[in-house]
């Protein structure tokens, strides 16, 4: 059960940017269908925009927490105590009201006003990386020199994680999300990640810094266990660099393939915001929401899902549903795509969405202005996509200018 199939499951399969036609067939046909996930488990796949929204809004029937005794096939047995410790603080594994208790401690850090204060520093970080690219000279791997380091450095500074440690945690998080790897290996990455974060939490407990970890210790230190702090910080670190970095890499490639739209992002300040939203929609790099478990028998699109079933919401499919937007398979940065579900929906809607948006809104125009003749330095056919990752993206992207 631990060996991954040769092809990723249907909800992760793509032709370049696009979800495979089979996914659209499910959406146009039954809407909700039983499929086999990357671990060989039978799960229900929800594909329509309205159903995905309804499901993600209904945390009472579609729970993020797992019932006692729930194990992934192939996962090594773990003592209950260790399981509890590993789950603590993971907001994506909690339901209200417990989820809200933790989320509320963090929301002040991601308000739009707070983002405005961060803006100059992010502009500076982007500029430094563009300078380094220019100094190195073409060709460069855009993923390695731009898409990955910018969000990594931003989240490190915000959270209070030493950026020097990036090689280790970037490698760990990349492997943790690679669903083709055996589950024991991925769990081992998770364990090491927690161990690393525990050392940072211990440091913050004694000397809280001027960062999110320090804020959590100062303002909520008495009500949070070390396990919870480790869980919260680990999730923010993972989510903070794995998501935006893949958007930056894949989105740059998408714009290089649509030169008129790239020129608009470069030359028209007003085009940038809507372009970021449309790229979020069109690329939908988060392949599915965190799987939910039904707490009772439910019905979606006339399909009955029994209680206790794993349910996956396909974000790419919901964002390319023709009932949601016209000509959904066309990238059109002028549509702006209000209401897309790339950040999810419901109480678990991406906490870092304002940060991700700001990073993209700064990084893309800056990149295209610095290198107005940016072009692929490899054949499009040779570009390596991350086809087995929970978050879609590129392994590398060679560019010249």
């Amino acid at each position: 059960m631990t060996a991954a199939p040769a092809l990723p499951p249907v909800h992760m399969r793509r032709n370049g940017f696009d979800p495979v036609p089979e996914l659209g067939d499910i959406r146009a046909g039954v809407g909700v269908r039983s499929v086999v996930n990357a671990f060989g488990m039978d799960v229900y796949l929800v594909t329509r925009h309205d159903d995905v929204k309804a499901m993600l809004s209904d945390h009472a029937h579609f729970a993020n927490s797992r019932p006692p005794g729930f194990v992934l096939p192939g996962a090594p047995a773990m003592p209950e105590e260790e399981q509890v410790s590993a789950r603590a603080g993971n907001l994506l594994g909690l339901d209200p009201p417990e989820h809200q208790r933790l989320r509320k401690m963090l929301t002040a850090e991601f308000t739009i006003r707070r983002m405005k204060r961060l803006e100059p520093r992010i502009v500076e970080i982007v500029t430094e990386h563009l300078d380094a690219m220019e100094a190195a000279g073409a060709p460069v791997d855009l993923v390695e020199s731009f898409a990955l380091p910018i969000p990594s450095l931003v989240i490190c500074e915000l959270l209070g994680v030493p950026y020097e440690d990036r090689d280790d945690f970037q490698k760990r998080s990349g492997r943790q999300l690679d669903l083709s790897l055996p589950i024991p290996e991925r769990l081992e990455m998770q364990r090491r990640g927690r161990e690393y974060m525990r050392s940072l939490v211990e440091r913050a407990r004694t000397k809280p810094g001027d960062d999110i970890l320090g804020m959590l210790v100062r303002e909520h230190g008495a009500e949070l266990t070390d396990d919870e702090l480790v869980g919260i910080a680990g999730l923010l670190l993972l989510a903070g660099h794995e998501t935006t970095s893949n958007m930056l890499g894949l989105g740059t490639l998408a714009l290089l393939r649509h030169p008129d739209q790239l020129a608009a992002v470069r030359d028209d300040q007003d085009a940038v915001g809507p372009a970021v939203e449309e790229l979020l929609r069109w690329l939908s790099i988060v392949q599915t929401s965190i799987p939910r478990i039904t707490t009772a028998e439910v019905e979606l699109s006339g399909v009955t899902i029994p209680a206790g079933q794993l349910v996956f919401a396909s974000l790419p499919s919901s964002n390319r549903d023709p009932t949601f937007t016209d000509a959904p398979d066309v990238l059109d940065i002028s549509r702006g795509a209000p209401g897309h579900l790339a950040f999810g929906h419901g109480v678990h809607h991406c906490l870092g969405a304002p940060l991700a948006r700001m990073e993209m809104r700064i990084a893309w125009p800056a990149l295209f202005r610095r290198f107005p003749n940016l072009a692929l330095a490899e054949d499009f056919a040779d570009v390596q996509f991350r086809s087995f990752h929970f978050i879609y993206g590129l392994r590398s992207l060679l560019v010249r200018w």
């Binding site: 929301t107 002040a108 991601f110 308000t111 405005k116 007003d270 940038v272 991406c350 700001m358 700064i362």
Partner: protein
């Protein structure tokens, strides 16, 4: 180059989805009424992105209504915000 002078910064989220509405007057004929369940707000900032004339966030990110009576020119924005609020806490009556 920039087609209007209203863009002030990369975090000018009011322009994100539908273009800005900062210049829309808040006066004028009033149509519908907005309300918000602030206790259940998840601070996504979604509504502020749609209309920073109708919505703001407090220090914790919780929605603040800038106008309960929606001026007619902003009715469509209000409807969009209600429809797309991730936590479904906005209502229009």
């Amino acid at each position: 180059m920039s087609s209007s002078g209203r863009f002030t910064s990369f975090t000018d989220y009011g322009r994100c989805w539908l273009g800005g509405d900062g210049d829309e007057p808040l006066g004028g004929k009033v149509g519908m009424r907005l309300s918000a369940d602030r206790d259940d707000c998840i601070a996504s900032g979604n509504c502020v992105m749609i209309s920073d004339a109708l919505f703001d966030q407090d220090d914790d990110g919780v929605v603040v209504l800038l106008a309960e009576d929606v001026p007619e020119p902003l009715e469509e924005r209000a409807r969009e915000a209600v429809k797309t609020c991730p936590a479904s806490v906005l209502h229009l009556t």
